[in-house]
Point group: C2
Chain length 355, copies 2
């Protein structure tokens, strides 16, 4: 049995014809890791069943691959030879990889100086043309929208693969399908995740509604410095170390609010300190290394349990970890203790061990 990627695995639940071309890197099928020690830390003696959906183990290191297999497959079907996106990093790497796999030209617009090294490196390695603009993510999004509109009726269409592309959501829904399958057919009680551009929370909700017996309540976490949905207003200059969710005006804002309402969910802001603490707990208590933004769902769950807003007793919570820690090694190096230096002699090691 070779896992064929999310489109083949869930084709009856997705709007792809039987003969539609599929561009896949066998994405999806990511681990759902049981985390009893971490559950005990955030809800002592609370009876919480905690699971980590480790989306950083998708091919390019983030959940974006689920949507990108759908968007690029569709672009190929429509005859596009070039794809373009504006990205804070993860979308760019994913677009670049799937475009390479399909033999398409790929342009990615990134805001100058705001992208972690690992993310930029990947896009470059995949052969994308990385264009650094002297503007924000939102400026980049405006540019790629306009250029694709200008080319829409030409013989050389350019496919826009940002999350405004509706096919992205279709692919991302499969995250919910997998969680339900991995939990034996049931949705969890709580589904916790970071909310940046709000595509992922919207997609998960679509997925659960389509596939699950019972529905979860959604818990969305936003970084306090980039929390437009929590605040109910656009944030002009979003700031957080969680770069992947540093977004002031989410593309799927309305859809996210609807999903939260329908599910009886919660959206909350967590400080960068709380995100980092959750990030630390994931790595040190369970051995799961994520990029900082990915810890936001756990930070939100920990906060809501501490506040008494979520009762963990007998509940199942799934926390989506959106990207791998290797995406942002800089934060790890900054936060960690420095390496110890010793002479290459056994007695030096003995002395160190004795403390």
């Amino acid at each position: 049995m070779n896992w064929p990627g999310v489109i083949e695995a869930y084709r009856p639940y997705l709007p792809f014809d039987a003969d539609a071309p599929v561009v896949t890197l066998n994405e999806g099928n990511t681990p759902l890791i049981h985390a009893p020690r971490l559950a005990e830390q955030i809800a002592p003696r609370g009876g919480l069943q905690l699971y980590l959906k480790y989306e950083g183990l998708n091919p390019t290191g983030s959940f974006k691959d689920r949507g990108m297999t759908a968007a690029i497959s569709r672009a190929v079907q429509e005859g596009a030879e070039t794809v373009i996106c504006a990205s804070t990093g993860n979308t760019a790497a994913s677009a670049a990889a799937y475009a390479a796999r399909a033999g398409l030209r790929c342009l990615v617009l990134v805001p100058q100086g705001k992208i972690a090294l690992g993310k930029l490196a990947a896009s470059l390695a995949y052969g994308a043309e990385v264009i650094s603009i002297d503007g924000s993510f939102d400026d980049g999004l405006r540019m790629v929208r306009e250029i694709t509109e200008r080319r829409a009726d030409s013989r050389r269409p350019i496919a826009l693969v940002n999350s405004v592309n509706p096919w992205r959501l279709e692919g991302q829904k499969t995250g919910a399908f997998e969680i339900v399958d991995q939990l034996g057919g049931q949705a969890p009680d709580w589904h916790c995740l970071p909310v940046g551009n709000a595509g992922n929370i919207s997609a998960y909700w679509l997925g659960y509604k389509q596939y699950a017996k019972g529905l979860p309540r959604l818990l969305g976490g936003q970084a306090a410095g980039a929390a437009p949905i929590v605040l109910g207003r656009v944030v002009e200059k979003p700031e957080t170390l969680a770069t992947a969710i540093r977004i002031g005006n989410p593309a799927r804002w309305r859809q996210a609010v609807e999903a939260l309402d329908e599910s009886g969910g919660i959206i909350t802001a967590v400080s960068d300190e709380d995100i980092l603490e959750a990030w630390r707990l994931l790595a040190r208590v369970e051995g799961v290394f994520v990029e900082p933004a990915s810890a936001t769902g756990l930070a939100a769950l920990r906060q809501q349990i501490a506040l008494g807003e979520i009762d963990p007793a007998g509940r199942t919570a799934v926390v989506v970890l959106t990207g791998h820690g290797l995406k942002d090694p800089g934060t790890a190096v900054e936060q960690a203790a420095a390496p110890i230096t010793l002479k290459a002699e056994i007695e030096a090691l003995e002395r160190y061990l004795r403390g």
Copy 2:
């Protein structure tokens, strides 16, 4: 169905009792990616069926997790509270993660100044005590061997989790099991992989012999500057940009030679330039980003096909990609074209697109 990690998935084939404790991050179950475009590049009209076993999608980003779940599970059973290893990077990250998951103290000895940032960052994030020694990998290995021997009969044993630990091979065998399962019960004709410390080639061979109908021929690639098995002598100062296989005196040398002989295999040296070209092809033709050492198996296959030593006609080849490209973003940045800089204006983008 939730994939339970390699020990649970293959317990009847592994020396773990039914009640033995298992420390897992649900490792394994990595994609086997069909690569027809790449096959056409390395064997034009050759009829080669090429598959990429993407081991970089294990939890810590490399194949080491397969062996580490076994080694750490065994350490827990034996009552160890501390684990130690010497490592060029991937072993350290894996040991650190599984030790964290099990609540054990973890010490990793690394040679000063030779480790890629992403690898060191991960070990630090997992909370390992990273000890930088002013010596080589082999010096570190000597030290950790001695310290664990000194503690062997004490009330506080320290578990050595380097690849000399026999449990590592038991876990790593599961890579072969998975490939056979993913190919529908058959071994490939050729199994291609990098050879550094030679644990992986030894483990795969054990796995195939135990599990497969039919056996593959093994193709091992060593970096030309670190090719002791090819040369038949220890390399005192191994040099290659493929840091993960920069090893001059492999721990599993004899076993690797036996495996190669039994399989009717080939071991060959490839230049750093050929490794980089294979690395580039993987990312740009198939959208698969690996650390440089991981491309060595493909470089060896490409070389042997070009030399006429391997006839690709009607053959199936599996290339093991041992670690994710995010492990070593520096190489990607060095090798790639620099990002293009544009003003955040649509006309600037138009001009760029028109070339």
